[in-house]
Structure formats: structure tokens, C-alpha cells
Amino acid sequence: MLEFARFEARRRAKGTAALVGGVSLLAASFTGLFPSIERADVDMDAYVEAFPPALQEAFGIAALDTIEGFLAVELYQFVWLLLLGLYFAYSAAGLIASDVERDRMDLTLSLPVSRTRVLAEKFLSVCVPILALNAVVPLVVYASVVAIGQSIDPVDLLVVHLLSIPYLLACAAIGLVLSVLADRADLAKRAAIVVVFVLFLVESLAASTENLEWLGYVSPTHYYDPTAILVEGSYDLTGMGVLLVATLALVFASRHRFVRADVGA
């Protein structure tokens, strides 16, 4: 079992290593910036107030003068929620579509394997970089925080990473749906970026618009709030459940489509 997942994961090993390395470096440099911002003696509260409410909401801007608030915005809201969300949606959008486009799927499906298995294993292969990032980067962040003479609650730090896993899986599942719908990989990938980005915007705007808060519920970003975890220490476990259920639902929807569709017709 899991031959395809292992094959894909191994094939992406270099990419995964580069991603983990790059994000670790970014995390360490953001953390390294904090002392100079703290020293700058800017009135952070006034600075935060100056942002329009939508932007405050979009990037969870709060308590920028604490290491937790600073990391929540610079690293988790921006890199984790937005950039990695887009990246995993983009990456998953190629899983099926690029194999179909390059005729690779023909040979794969001539093997004694069901389409469900191929789809599931392909999706599982995306878990490898997601897990690797969340295993390595918290260690880097913790070490960097200690190195600049600050402290951060290690439990909050772990939870912010743990709860990002369902979030990133949900983004990848959005990509997977597009991967079985589009017949060209670049179309699927572009669509995945657009969808995830639009959902991010919708949630940010909806949250600060009266009577439209409900609209934010469709976005995965609604269910993962790094600022709340790091600054307030509040964990949205229901949100995590929603993301996991949504991921499963999207994977099943993809399967429903993929087992019936003509391959590359």
C-alpha cells in the first residue's frame, strides 16, 4: 500500500526540503527583526489603530509590540495563512490534472489500482510537506525567540502549528477539487490560487461588514486564527473540526468526480 504516496513524496523530497529550509529562514529572520522594532519605541497601539478595520481583521493585527502578536501577524497570518494556504492549494491542483495532461495517468490507471486509491494517495503525498513544515518550523521559531532573549508559550506555539495542519489540508483539498475538474494543470493551479485568495478576502471583508459576517463562514481562514492562539491563548477546536470535515468532504467530492470522469478525453 501507499506506493504512489511514497513515490510522490520522494519525488517532491527536494522541494519539501527547500520549502522547509526557506520558511525556517524566513521565520528566524522575522523573529530576529523583533528587537529592533521593540527598541524603536513606536506607540504600537496607535499604529495598530491606524489600520483600517478590514486590514486589522485580514492580518489579525493586535499586540504588535509583543513577540506573540508580532509573530502572529508577520509569520502566521501572512506566511502560514496566506502564502502557504495559496501554495498548498496550487500544489494540490496539479496532483491529478498534470498527470492527466501529460498522459501519465494512462499508465498509472493501467495498473491494478482503483482510481480512489490513486486519488487518495496523491492527496496523502501533500501531507508530507505540511507535516514537515509544522514539525521543523516551531523548533526554529522557539530557538530564535530564545536567542533574542524573549520568551513564548511553547504550548501556544505548538497549537498554532497543530491547528494549521487542518487549515492547510483544507486549502489543498480545494486544489484537489480543481485538479479533477480542470483538464489542464496550469488552469487548475491558477484557479486554486484565485479561489483561496478570494476566500481569504471575503472572510476579511465580511468580518468587518455588518450583516455579512455569515459570508466569512465559507472561507477556511475563518476557522484558523493564529493571533487568537498566540496572543489570547484561545484555541478554536470547533474550527479545527470544521476544517477536517470540509477537507474530507472536498476529497470525497473529488473522488466522486474522478471515478466517473473520462481520463484525458
Partner: protein
């Protein structure tokens, strides 16, 4: 039970006909050639047999498994090897990694023996492969689990003549071991060399299903005569002769009538030299495909009539 049985297998892409009402079967152990020009529907038929496309109507059974039943087909595919027209191996992977992946899923008992015979550079990544090497890897992959049935789409395209020859020998050996081979081709000489039977596909429909010998005889003989004086092609006056043309001082034509009639007619002429031989295979092929893009002379009309009689 045939290794492959098609029953009215039809696949339409919207309004476009891929294949239409194909019914025939491929018997266990035979080498079956699936012949037709590009666009005739060969690949559509093959991809429908493998379950990649679902039939619009009709069905087919591959080693007894209905192609519409994924579970049964997955089981049957353990005993099926497939060589697609476009291999599309993962470019970043090495040949070895690909064989490992396929081997873990379907078995690879004959891998080493096949690699000794077809020798793709398996330690190198696919992106460095020539078309020929990629095809060799495809062949190893298709046969390494010792399948009962091998389906191949234009297997010799991309192989140089020497390797084609070796591949044809290999197919004959495989067939002798009881493996059923089904392959598509648009090269007649190849089909003539290796196939037991041939199905000819035209515009998605089965135009003919023949033994190779019958296919060849259907084309008639190529006759070339030299006579005293000159003989105009229009003066040949021989029913069953067509495509008559002057070649230098000789007259050449294709003859599909009674031999007695040919000999009687020759006896009336003052023959200096006569040759009666196999027709070029392309001419045989034209029987099934000659109608389009050809000037509608008497010859082709006669030929069409013959095909209709057959």
C-alpha cells in the same frame, strides 16, 4: 472465452464519434493487429478497453472483466500489460524508480530478463532518455509482471529498424508462451510480419476483420508484363485488373480476378516477360481506405465493388 471481447463498443465525445459499434474478439494466445490511420479511433478503443474512458454504449470484456465494472477490471489488470502511445513517464524519476513503483504494484518477476534484452539506461532520469530508450522502458514495464494479455498502442514507433526487428521476434516468442498480444499500428509491414489476425478500423468503425493471409490475398497480385510491340493500359481488357500503368516498356497492374482468365489473356498476347508477385502492402491497405482523396477512376470503382462483395 476470448481474451478481449467487444460488443457494440461505442464511444462518442459529444457529437464526435470516437469508435462506433465495434464488435469482435481477440482469442487467447493470438497476436492481433489493430490497424488504421491516425484518427481512426485505435487509441480511443484501447483506452476504453482499459477503463480510462467509459463507453457511450455497448461494452467489452478484458480477460472476462466488464470494462464498466471498475472492481473487476482492477483485478483483471493484474494480468494485463499496457504500453501506451505516449508514455509520459515522470521526467524527474529514474527508469529504476519507475520500474520499482510498477513492480511493487503489479509484480516484476521477469524484470531482469527483460532488462537484459531491452536495455534502457535505468539508472538515468527519464528526461535524459531518447524516444527509443523510453519505449524500451515502456516495453519492460508492460511485460515484467508476466501478463496474460498485453495491449500496446503503436509499440514500434520511435524504435529504430533493428530494435523493431528484435521486438517483433520477442512478440513471436511471447505469443508462443501463450501471451495474448493486442496492438495497434498504422504500419502494414509490421502487421504482416507478426500478426495472426487483423482488424481494420476506419472512421471509428470496423472496416474488416481478417487473417493476415486473407488480407494479403484480398489485395490481389501485382502483375508486370512485357509484350512484343506496345500495349496500352486501356487495351488490356481483363476483368479484375486495375491500376494498370505503363512502366517503361512494361505494363504493370494489380490483378484480383481468376487466374485462368489472366493466363488466357496472357496467352493471346506475345509475352516476352511476366512477373506475378505480392502486392505492396500499402495497396492492400488502400482497399479499405482508397475511397477518399483518390481520383475516381474505373480501377478504384472495381476495387470497391470487390470489397463490397467480400
Amino acid at each position: 472465452m476470448g481474451a478481449i471481447e467487444l460488443e457494440g463498443l461505442t464511444k462518442h465525445y459529444g457529437a464526435v464519434v470516437g469508435i462506433d459499434d465495434l464488435t469482435f474478439s481477440v482469442e487467447g494466445g493470438e497476436i492481433f493487429g489493430f490497424l488504421g490511420p491516425n484518427g481512426a479511433g485505435k487509441t480511443t478503443a484501447i483506452r476504453t478497453l482499459l477503463g480510462l474512458l467509459s463507453p457511450t454504449s455497448g461494452t467489452a470484456r478484458v480477460l472476462g472483466a466488464d470494462v464498466r465494472d471498475e472492481g473487476a477490471l482492477v483485478e483483471a489488470r493484474r494480468r494485463v500489460g499496457y504500453l501506451p502511445a505516449d508514455l509520459g513517464f515522470d521526467e524527474g524519476a529514474t527508469g529504476e524508480q519507475i520500474l520499482d513503483l510498477h513492480g511493487r504494484i503489479k509484480g516484476d518477476s521477469r524484470r531482469e530478463a527483460l532488462l537484459a534484452r531491452f536495455d534502457p539506461p535505468i539508472e538515468r532520469p527519464i528526461r535524459e532518455y531518447s524516444t527509443g530508450n523510453e519505449q524500451m522502458l515502456g516495453i519492460v514495464q508492460a511485460f515484467m509482471h508476466d501478463p496474460d494479455l498485453v495491449i500496446m498502442d503503436e509499440p514500434t514507433s520511435g524504435l529504430d529498424p533493428l530494435k523493431q526487428e528484435r521486438f517483433h521476434e520477442f512478440l513471436a516468442e511471447e505469443s508462443a508462451r501463450g501471451t495474448t498480444v493486442f496492438f495497434s499500428s498504422h504500419v502494414l509491414s509490421e502487421v504482416r510480419q507478426v500478426c495472426d489476425r487483423v482488424g481494420i478500423l476506419r472512421d471509428g468503425r470496423l472496416a474488416a476483420l481478417e487473417d493476415v493471409e486473407t488480407l494479403l490475398s484480398r489485395g490481389g497480385k501485382r502483375v508486370r508484363i512485357r509484350v512484343e510491340g506496345s500495349l496500352d493500359p486501356t487495351d488490356l481488357a481483363l476483368p479484375g485488373a486495375f491500376d494498370a500503368e505503363s512502366v517503361g516498356d512494361a505494363l504493370a497492374f494489380t490483378y484480383a480476378g481468376e487466374y485462368d482468365a489472366l493466363l488466357s489473356r496472357l496467352a493471346e498476347l506475345d509475352v516476352i516477360d511476366v512477373e506475378i508477385g505480392e502486392p505492396p502492402l500499402e495497396d492492400v491497405f488502400m482497399h479499405y481506405y482508397g475511397e477518399e482523396g483518390e481520383t475516381d477512376d474505373e480501377g478504384s470503382t472495381a476495387r470497391r465493388a470487390e470489397v463490397a462483395d467480400a
